[in-house]
């Protein structure tokens, strides 16, 4: 049994606080976000808005762990999802100088915003460009909570079992 931080799903909670609430769970049960059916994506951005609203307590697509973009910056109306692919070990965690990012069992990271100095080293170290920073310098990263999956009307997103570490 490990002690790690995960967000609670209850809507009555203050999400900003819950991002770094420590709760004991079994690592074997961890899941991570996947986007296996992006060909069905209609570009509604509801996943990004759900992440911002429920995890970062903000309204806006810039403050989200998942970003939906036009594929290849064209008008082809096919979309790609940019989110953390749950590396283990995560290079962003290794490069974080303040300990704001902690390794998540099953891959990926958790973010403690109180420790983040907005230095952006995690962004430089992510090979996928999956960590996002808005104009205020705030960092957003997918913590694999699965809230965005609930709000995808096309079922493009899915939570999958992570391999045991």
């Amino acid at each position: 049994m490990h002690s790690i931080c995960i967000p609670k799903m209850s809507l009555s909670d203050n999400k900003k606080h819950c991002i770094y609430t420590y709760i004991p769970i079994k690592p074997m049960t961890m899941k991570h976000l996947t986007a296996p059916r992006m060909d069905l994506c209609i570009g509604c951005q509801l996943c990004a808005l759900a992440c911002a609203r429920l995890i970062y307590n903000q309204i806006g697509w810039s403050r989200s762990g998942i970003q939906i973009q036009n594929a290849q910056n064209t008008s082809s109306h096919s979309y790609s999802a940019h989110y953390c692919l749950a590396c283990s070990p995560a290079p962003c965690f290794s490069n974080c100088p303040t300990g704001a990012l902690s390794q998540r069992p099953g891959g990926g990271v958790f973010l403690n915003q109180d420790l983040c100095t907005k230095c952006g080293k995690c962004i430089q170290s992510c090979p996928l460009g999956a960590i996002h920073q808005n104009t205020e310098g705030d960092i957003s990263v997918c913590i694999h909570c699965g809230e965005c999956v609930t709000f995808c009307p096309q079922q493009c997103l899915e939570m999958q079992e992570s391999l045991s570490p």
């Binding site: 809507l11 209609i42 509604c44 509801l46 082809s76 096919s78 709000f151 009307p153």
Partner: protein, 523 residues
């Protein structure tokens, strides 16, 4: 107290100012805010295309906060010299919301054809004279290279050659799949020498009441997802193509429905040519029923031709309908039209759209001003129609009467008009929030009140709705408008006398509106 953050861009002086407007009585944003700003910045004694005239883009108080709150309203003085509101979706509403502005007012005129980019960091005006005459799809590929930031989240509006020429039939293309269509929005942007307008917002806002807001959001989202709207989108005339998988659906930002309006068909239309075409029930109805184009790919070709020149499909179809009827009745001939215009001749219509965009001869230059203006010169007035705010209301009156709602007799005109005024009020309520009209069954009055509460607004907005209806009534000129014969021929039962019917409707509408809002004289 409600306050609004307004960005005023003066293109002539190349300067911008930010203004805060606080508590204007019951002003709560949306179309009411757009109208307020239009009144403040417009000049009644100047022409519609004078540089001083404003072009206003505004969003509603709930834009981006709830599902389907995705639209933007534009307000301007139309080439028909009337105050006009036009609505479009795409990513426009949310993009503006996340710049933290509630409205943009554009006045002045750029000294050369330009691309205006608005981001959270500021404004930029870039030369785009090289794009003169180019269609929106090519223009947009240049615009994306010039302003690469925000793919999938920014909104890009553009005009085609029709807008540059100042045609009242010109539309503003939004994100390639939505349009500010009616009343010549494209001509207004063209008059300001703006070929492309890009808005990209990356601000994040704090919800005022997290618990109540999140719960309400989830309830509304669940209602939409569980409703039949998901199936309704398949009832379009293009359901066959959807079923075969030929159509790729799209959605406006913050919309879980993904209706068929932003559907894209990407396939070989001509030799080695593939194209994305925006689909929609109304344009397809207009081309299919009014111009009697039967083959689906002929309709797609005409949609593509309209898209290429950024025309409003409905306005162009109305103009071509008049031209066809005028030819049929001998008012004009092939000498004027160049191509043999008769119903069902898709190829000739395609060529005529091209001629219309280029202003091939004096006839097409006149037709570019609309069928109503052309009919003053060439005749066949009974087939001309000016698409405007009240024309739409009048035609919806006729349409609802002729179809599912009522059976018209001399005795129930009062009931018809009464119900239509109530509907106009409901629609006004949604429009003042700038909700997509697909959301009308989810956003009833009580739900809207809850939403406004959760968002921290004063929810006593009924006054706002009354203002909207009152404004439409006082600015209107219903008595002087006429509907094209085609409206009656298409949808009215044969037993009904069209002229008598229309006259009765207009009189009853005037009587009821006068009793609701006295003080306006019959024109």
């Amino acid at each position: 107290m409600n306050s609004f953050r307004i960005l005023h861009v003066d293109l002539t002086k190349q300067k911008h100012t930010i203004r805060n407007i606080e508590d204007q009585g019951h002003l709560i944003g949306g179309s009411e805010l757009a109208h307020f700003l239009y009144k403040r910045y417009s000049y009644s004694d100047k022409a519609w295309d004078a540089p001083e005239q404003p072009l206003v883009f505004a969003i509603g108080p709930l834009t981006g906060l709830f599902p389907l709150m995705s639209k933007m309203v534009s307000a301007f003085s139309s080439p028909q010299k009337t105050y006009t509101e036009s609505y479009a979706g795409g990513r426009a509403g949310l993009a503006l919301k996340f710049t933290s502005f509630d409205a943009i007012v554009i006045t002045g005129k750029s000294n050369k054809l330009s691309c205006l980019e608005l981001t959270s960091n500021g404004l930029s005006l870039q030369d785009m004279t090289f794009a003169k005459g180019l269609d929106p799809s090519i223009t947009l590929s240049f615009a994306r290279k010039m302003c690469p930031k925000g793919a999938g989240q920014r909104t890009i509006m553009s005009i085609g050659s029709s807008g540059e020429r100042g045609s009242p039939l010109a539309a503003i293309n939004v994100d390639t799949y939505r349009h500010f269509g009616r009343m010549g929005g494209g001509a207004i942007l063209g008059a300001k020498n703006i070929k492309v307008l890009i808005i990209y917002g990356d601000h994040a806002l704090s919800p005022p009441n997290t618990e109540q807001y999140n719960q309400l959001y989830r309830d509304i989202f669940t209602n939409i997802i569980n409703s039949k709207s998901q199936e309704d989108k398949m009832t379009s005339p293009l359901a066959g193509l959807v079923a075969k998988g030929d159509i790729h659906s799209g959605a406006c930002a913050s919309c879980p429905i993904g209706c068929v309006h932003p559907g894209f068909i990407r396939r070989k239309l001509e030799r080695c040519h593939k194209s994305d075409i925006e689909l929609g029930d109304e344009p397809i109805f207009w081309l299919g029923k009014v111009l009697q184009i039967k083959a689906s790919f002929d309709i797609l070709r005409l949609l593509e031709a309209n898209e290429r020149y950024s025309f409003d499909v409905l306005a162009v179809a109305t103009a071509l309908y008049w031209a066809t009827m005028a030819t049929k009745e001998g008012h004009i001939s092939e000498k004027e039209t160049i191509y043999p215009l008769y119903f069902g001749n898709a190829k000739a219509y395609q060529q005529a759209i091209s001629a219309l965009a280029k202003g091939a001869n004096s006839f097409y230059r006149n037709l570019g001003k609309g069928s109503y203006q052309s009919a003053q010169i060439y005749g066949a007035k009974e087939y001309a129609c000016e698409l405007g705010q009240e024309t739409v209301f009048l035609s919806s009156l006729v349409f609802s009467t002729a179809t599912r709602d009522f059976v018209w007799t001399d005795k129930n005109v009062q009931e018809i008009v009464q119900k239509s005024i109530l509907r106009q009020r409901e629609k006004g309520c949604l429009n003042s929030m700038i909700v997509c009209l697909f959301g009308k069954k989810f956003y009833r009055e009580d739900v809207l009140r809850d939403c406004l509460d959760a968002a921290g607004y004063d929810s006593s907005f009924m006054h706002n709705i009354e203002n909207l209806q009152k404004r439409a009534w006082f600015n209107g000129r219903l008595e002087t408008l006429s509907l094209s014969k085609k409206f009656y021929a298409t949808i009215l039962p044969k037993a009904v006398n069209p002229q008598k019917f229309l006259c009765a409707l207009k009189n009853e509408y005037h009587t009821q509106m006068h009793s609701l809002y006295p003080g306006r004289k019959k024109s």
